[in-house]
Symmetry: C2
Subunit: 322 residues, 2 copies
């Protein structure tokens, strides 16, 4: 077999001609096109450049996702958004913000260690020209596995070798103390071990932040407790332009924005999560502020509008012009 | 804005050569990341593969876009969709359908001959692995310049060298006869010369089709006159899966789906266009049928839901899994 690629490609036209193959067969020598375009999307926020990066998705049954609401009611809401009623697809989207003083990223993805349909973040970062070694700070919203597992590789080495890790103080306090395990929902107890594991390699590089604190130039923590004890969203501003990284204020907005009072299976404290959801959605809706989310349909950026007793997520206009 | 579109995707080798870098350095230099991800999106329709391809956009004032409606009323509707009120961005999106019996494309883009912010179709086709030489048929909805100019190059050579061109008979009858010029809106009269110019190089390869006719396996013409005398949309089906290519049934759906009775400046016969819009939207809403459009926000595919006295376009869920 000819392993010299250039020779192989150079020869293919002659071979095809000799075999009298049609033009389409000769085309087969071209590099294969990707099945889907790379999952990144870029827009400007003042002088900052924001890039959302797709890490894939996972699927779970719709049944049991919303607590105490008949499945048929959830399915009816999904049907309004033309989403299937059996399986819920939950995408993961990581928001990067390039500022004059550093490249910051909100949360860390699944690190290709959680679901076979997830783990595309590294490839999509490469496609977007985002080098993990260039990341100045990883700003964490909360410590659920799909947000922090990507901090380290499967060998538990730092995935962002030069980054500082910025964490909500309340979140750190809860999950770094095993004494809280008994007071946590059973399904969330693996977070204690995963917290120790993922933050371990960043010893000495971890900074705790509090509500209202400016964690980096133009980036401010906004407490949004409930989904987890220290769940935090982040306000990003440059000049008059502002946006909010909403993290898990809601999971898919087709459910959680339309019915902000519904409590989902991943909420640590469902009642607090619902109250927080209303409060933060009220603010971003009133201010007509751009948002990005973690589990929103890619490219995961848009606006929150009031609708009926709840809200609606309106995707931002897509532009090839950044 | 980067006006060198090829540079966005393919300029790195040329740049390295111009800088006289040694061969090793050229090998080592990573290709620069594109400002934006390539504008193509792929999904399955039965055994067919549909790819929408972005060709860019153009901008025009909101004022004067909708006939006989106060600009402030149009701006209020745009604000509901979080779109700006001064300039309207009109994207161009071309729908490709790969079938076992050929690669078909709906309309032909601007051919990089109409607006500096348009003409990205060729680069995005390359990124998607869609070779113009492989196109079996170009299926045309109507003869407005942004839909047929891309049939030929600036030198007026065939852009799809091996394709048959499929056109609505009523559209052909109107624009191929200069005697109709006096009965056409003044702004649309350049279409006569452009029709002659763009179809000229395809002499002997043009097929006229009529309402209800199967124009290719699984693809059927559906008359939707009004926007132009022969404006036609196309129904695509494979097995139980179906979709409708809606062409210019509406321009941006944030306006035309919400207010189907409004008539826009590009409509040849505004009243007929509005009646057709209601009829076709009614059908695709009732059947909950997937649609693609030509001036919809990329990736330009989703569903039409009834809302109030009109409709709403609901984008389809984005998936990295084709």
């Amino acid at each position: 077999m000819n392993t010299d690629r250039r020779g192989l490609f150079a020869g293919s036209a002659a071979v095809a001609a000799a075999l009298a193959l049609p033009a389409a067969a000769q085309q087969a020598a071209a590099p294969p096109a990707p099945a889907q375009a790379p999952g990144f999307y870029r827009f400007k926020l003042g002088g900052f450049t924001v890039t959302t990066v797709h890490d894939g998705f996972f699927r779970r049954p719709v049944e049991g996702f919303v607590r105490g609401v008949p499945t048929a009611e959830v399915q009816a809401l999904l049907a309004e958004a033309f989403l299937p009623g059996d399986q819920l697809t939950i995408p993961f989207t990581i928001t990067f913000v390039e500022t004059p003083r550093g490249l910051y990223v909100f949360d860390a993805g699944t690190g290709a260690q959680m679901a076979p349909t997830a783990g595309q973040m590294a490839a999509n970062m490469r496609a977007a020209g985002l080098d993990p070694a260039r990341v100045t700070g990883v700003i964490v919203s909360h410590f659920h596995g799909d947000h922090i597992t990507g901090l380290t590789t499967a060998q538990n080495e730092r995935a962002f070798p030069n980054a500082e890790i910025i964490v909500p103080a309340a979140e750190w306090a809860w999950w770094s103390d095993d004494a809280n395990a008994a007071r946590s929902p059973e399904g969330q107890r693996p977070n204690f071990a995963n917290t120790a594991r993922r933050f371990g390699p960043y010893q000495g590089r971890i900074r705790q932040v509090r509500d209202g604190e400016e964690v980096a130039p133009g980036i401010r923590a906004v407490s949004a407790h409930g989904h987890t004890p220290g769940h935090t969203v982040y306000h990003v501003a440059d000049g008059a332009d502002q946006m909010m990284f909403l993290a898990d204020l809601t999971n898919r907005p087709e459910i959680g924005a339309r019915r902000p009072d519904w409590q989902i299976v991943f909420d640590f404290d469902g009642e607090a999560a619902a109250a927080t959801r209303r409060r933060v959605f009220d603010r971003v809706a009133s201010e007509r502020m751009r948002v990005t989310g973690y589990h929103y349909m890619f490219p995961s950026t848009g606006f929150i509008a009031r609708e009926g007793q709840g809200f609606r997520f309106v995707p931002a206009d897509w532009s090839s012009q950044v």
